[in-house]
Symmetry: C2
Subunit: 227 residues, 2 copies
DNA sequence: TCATGTGAACTCCTTCACAGCT
DNA sequence: AGCTGTGAAGGAGTTCACATGA
C-alpha cells in the first residue's frame, strides 16, 4: 500500500508544492531537500516532511527528494494523471477572466463549456469558446462528462445553478458567487469570496492601527503596562 | 474591555457572517438566532456562538441576536468603520476583472490606483480608473495612504512588486500570482491561487473515482470488510 | 555525517453540554 | 421555557526531537 488518508490541510498544500517543484525542475534542479522546498513554499521543513510522508514520497535519508519523482507522486495524488473537464457558468467580468485564465489549462484542466443567461453574452466567443445558453447546461455537462464546475454567477442564482450542476453529475464546485452554496454529501465545494479576502486583510490592518483586539505580535516583548 | 484576541479561523468566518446578516437585514429581519444564522452560512450553531462571543456580541439569552447590532459589531471588528484604500497591480485578464469587481467597493474598500508595466495597457481606463505606470507605484501608495494591495502580476515579478509595495507602506497583500510571496513580520499576505483550488477539487474527484487514498465518507456506515 | 520518517508533545480549533439570563 | 455564553472535552493539525537508514 502507499497512500492511506490525506488530511485536508495536506491536500490543500500539495498544489503549492507541485508549483515550486515545477520551478526547480525548470531550473534543472534534480534533487531537493525538505529545507529548500519549505523555504520556497513558505512552510516548515517538518511540515513538509510530514505531508510528503503521507504520500509515501520516497525521499532518501541523507540525500533528499528527487524532484522529478516527487512531482509525479504529487500529481498522481491530486488526480492529475487523468484528464479533468470543467465548465464555467456566468461570463461576467470575473467569469470572463476565468475563461481566459491560463492557470487552469496549465495544470491539465480542460474547459469544455461556458454558459450564461444573458442573450447579449450568449453566442459571443471568449477564449476560443462560444458562450452557450445556460439552459443547455445539463446536456453539455453530461455529454462531456465534466466533473468540476466554476460558478461565477450573480449571488441570486448561485444555489439554483449549483443544484442543477450537481444533478447533472458534477462532483466539485468552485464558487465565486457572493453566497455560500449548499451541496449534498459526496460533492465538494470550495468557496472563494474575493471581498472576504480583503476584509480579512482589513482586520489585520485595523490591528496594526492600534485597535482593541487580537494580540499584535510586537517585535519586543513589551511588558504589560496595565500590570 | 470588549474584544480580546480573535482566533484567525474566527476572523476568516466573520465576512461570511456579515454577508448573511446583510441578506437578513434586506429582508427586514430584525432578530436572528445562532441556529438560523448557522444554517445560512453553513456552520454549526455552537461555532457561531463561540465566534460571536469573542466579539462580546451581546446576544440575549432566550431571544437571539439583533441583526443590526450584530452587523455593526462585526463591521467594527473587521475595521470597516474606517475607509481602507487599496491598489491593484497587474491589469491583465484577472486584474481587469478585479478592477471592475463590485464586491470590493460594496464592502467599503476604495480603489485608489491601477498599475501595469505594459505600455499598451498604461493609459487605458478600466472601471473608471486610468492605468498608471507601475514605476509610479510608490508615489500613489504613499500619497493615497493605501494599506492594502492586490497583486495580479505575472509570477516572475510578484515578489519584487510585493517588496516595493511593502516598502511603500502597504500592510496587507492579496496575492493572485502563481508564486508564494514572502513578506516581513507585521505584513499580512493572503494567497489566492485559482489553479490550486481546482487541483484540490481534482483530488476529491479522484477519490470518488475509486482511487487508493483518503477515506470516502460513504452515506451508509459500511462495515469494514477487512475486519 | 546527513536528511528523512515518525511517534509524541503541544497547540489550536471545534463540539459538547449545561449553567445562566431573559 | 428558550437561547445564549462558556468551561471542558474531544479532535485535528503542527512542531519537536530523535531514531533510522543511506
Amino acid at each position: 500500500m502507499q497512500v492511506r488518508a490525506l488530511p485536508p490541510t495536506t491536500v490543500a498544500r500539495l498544489p503549492g508544492y507541485l508549483r515550486s517543484l515545477g520551478g526547480l525542475a525548470s531550473e534543472g534542479v534534480l534533487t531537493t531537500s525538505s529545507e529548500q522546498l519549505a523555504e520556497l513554499v513558505g512552510a516548515s521543513p517538518a511540515q513538509l516532511r510530514k505531508d510528503l510522508s503521507y504520500l509515501g514520497a520516497g525521499g532518501r535519508r541523507g540525500v533528499g527528494y528527487e524532484v522529478d519523482h516527487l512531482r509525479k507522486q504529487i500529481a498522481q495524488a491530486l488526480g492529475m494523471t487523468e484528464e479533468r473537464r470543467f465548465v464555467i457558468i456566468g461570463i461576467g467580468n470575473l467569469g470572463h477572466a476565468l475563461a481566459t485564465y491560463t492557470g487552469f489549462s496549465d495544470r491539465g484542466f480542460v474547459l469544455v463549456g461556458l454558459f450564461d443567461a444573458d442573450p447579449e453574452v450568449i453566442g459571443t466567443t471568449v477564449g476560443g469558446h462560444a458562450v452557450q445558453d445556460v439552459a443547455h447546461l445539463e446536456d453539455v455537462v453530461t455529454a462531456a462528462d465534466a466533473s468540476i464546475a466554476v460558478v461565477a454567477t450573480p449571488a441570486s442564482v448561485a444555489q439554483a445553478t449549483t443544484d442543477r450542476l450537481v444533478a447533472a453529475g458534477v462532483t466539485g464546485v468552485l464558487n465565486f458567487a457572493a453566497r455560500t452554496v449548499r451541496v449534498p454529501d459526496g460533492v465538494d465545494v470550495r468557496e472563494v469570496d474575493l471581498g472576504s479576502e480583503l476584509q480579512i486583510l482589513g482586520f489585520h490592518a485595523r490591528q496594526r492601527a492600534g485597535a482593541p483586539a487580537a494580540p499584535v505580535e510586537s517585535v519586543e516583548p513589551v511588558p504589560d503596562p496595565t500590570a
